[in-house]
Amino acid sequence: MKRQFDALLNVPVSDPDDARRRKLLNILLLGTIIATLLGLVAVIINTVTQAPTDETETQYTLFGIVLATVGILAIYQINRRFSGRLAAALFLLLLTGIFALTDTPQQLTEGRSLFLFTIPIVMSSLILASGASFLFAALSSGIIAFLALSIGHSVNLFGTIGFFLLALVSWLSARSLEEALRELRGINANLDQVVIERTKALAESLERERIEAGRSQAILNSIADGVVVFDTNWNAMLANPALIGMLDLPLELIVNKNFRDLIEHPKLSPRSRHLLSAMMEYDTQPPSFRIEWDQKTLSISAAQVYDYTKDRFTNIGTVTVFRDFTREAEVEKLKSTFVAIVSHELRTPLNAILGYAEMFKEAVYGPMNDKQVNMAERIMKNTQRLLGLINDLLDQAQMEAGKLTIQMAPVRPAELLENLHSVMDQNAHDKNLRLTSEIDDHLPEVINGDAARLQQILLNLVNNSIKFTEHGTVHVRLFCPHENKWGIQVSDTGVGIPESEIPHIFETFRQVEGTATRVHGGFGLGLSIVKQLVNLMNGKIDVKSKVDVGSLFTVTLPLVVPEQSNEKWRIG
């Protein structure tokens, strides 16, 4: 009902001012038609109850009522379909016209119905335009002036002034009304814009969050490592498919279960159970470790999860990553087995060959002639070489596996040189080279170091120098350039190293000119091992060389003197 009533009054146009005016006009038209109909009822009652006084007047009145009704309906249609301003103008003109004809010019000039003219003046500023009140004030003044003059009266000046004052007041109030409405619309429009923007931003952020969550879920689902997130009480909050595949357990046995239940599972080895229990008891970041689950080896690393809220970090649980390490563990085991086999099973028969050859040489079973002794020596030498190569390969393998470690203990530098001479003197002698050595006076008699590895560095460097020197001297010097540094220098008078090759000589399996490996024998591992050992000892190695003049290798190492009294070592 209300909607239909509204539809009757409202005019659907885009300009809100126009719509407001046209609606107002419709209301006025409605009011007028009601007034007209009431007039009709009054006429009918008057006609029925009283004796007909003036037949003609009644007819005129009825005619006026019909005419007014038709006019109002026509204006309504114009207002609805055509133009609000035109309709308003017509309505106001009609109204003014009717008021002009209501009384006789005589009565009007005397001011009987002068007030009626104020109605269209006030209305015009509301339904036509704010300034239109002046037009209607002028029109009304014109009409009463004309009527007064037509009957020979003077113009009602006070009435005219009154009309214009009223027009001014109407104009001002209509204008302020319009302005207030315009401002209100502006505020509304801004408010709408803000609401639209906020809604859009909210929708976007929700969408982003949805995409982000979806992406995180997708990553978690497709990651090859098993991931499980625990709360601070070690209840599993979520787990990804990889973990389920890895453990071969249904999701409901993992998620929403306490980790303590899971580690009681019979597939877990007792040692692994112990490790996992230990992990749960760590307060700080637990380390990564391996467990055995069924036939699998799994590598586990765990990290605490922190949430930054209210200006501080709160521990909200632990994220644990499981990686299938089975294959790597097998390879590692194979590798260490291989290394153990090579180191023991290969060295043992070589030791036997060496021993028997020595027995020949030493004529244990009776005298030998020179040629036989020489042959025994050759067997010994080649066996030594083979042993050296095996040792190099093993060292390289261990270094690659990161298993070679430096173990510091008191070492006597003089003893390193004694051992060096006992092993290398023969090699130098065989090539008619001189192997000489010296120790700086400043160097302490006992220093901290890994005796076996230092010996290896010395042997490899000297062996390398002898290999590439055809005549002259290989000289070894142990020195102390600084109170917390000591060094090994090996110089030779050999073929030297071309400048372009110097950066490469410490590379694995490398000898100068590439093919030199064949000429001089060996794997080209010696210097590479030296370099790696020196690095492990936090030292550095330098080479100076000139082709056909010789090479100088300098190893510099940190110098630490053991705390124990040197006396004990002098005796030893």
């Binding site: 180191s343 030791n351 021993g355 027995m359 030493e362 076996a452």
Partner: protein
């Protein structure tokens, strides 16, 4: 003190070479190739003058023999202990507990010269 040298070594050739070196110096040599057998021998037999002990043995390791029998039994207090191993690290680890550590490959001459210095002069 007897002239007995006990060689505990599972490799036949090495045992034979070591034996030859020790005999050359004048020791009476007894060879045992198995950890289990060595354990029996050490528990029941006479304490030798010298034991040449391989750390890698079948059944009972040289390290076990050293720690559980030789070091615990006062009967071996005067016996000279030489261990042989291919593992330099292991050698270092036992350096303090034994008289000599020999890292494989072990030279015939080296062993002969060392033991000749150890053998009491008559």
């Amino acid at each position: 003190m007897s002239d007995l040298a006990l060689i505990i070594e599972d490799d036949e050739d090495l045992a034979s070479i070591f034996a030859e070196a020790l005999r050359g110096v004048g020791f009476e040599v007894e060879i045992i190739a198995d950890g289990q057998a060595a354990q029996e021998r050490l528990k029941n037999g006479m304490a030798p003058f010298l034991i040449l002990l391989d750390m890698h043995l079948p059944h009972v390791s040289g390290a076990d023999l050293l720690t559980n029998i030789i070091k615990k039994d006062d009967g071996f207090a005067k016996t000279i202990i030489i261990i042989t191993t291919a593992d330099a690290r292991m050698g270092e680890a036992y350096n303090e507990e034994v008289d000599f550590v020999m890292i494989k490959p072990i030279s015939f001459v080296q062993l002969r010269d060392l033991t000749s210095r150890l053998k009491p002069k008559r």
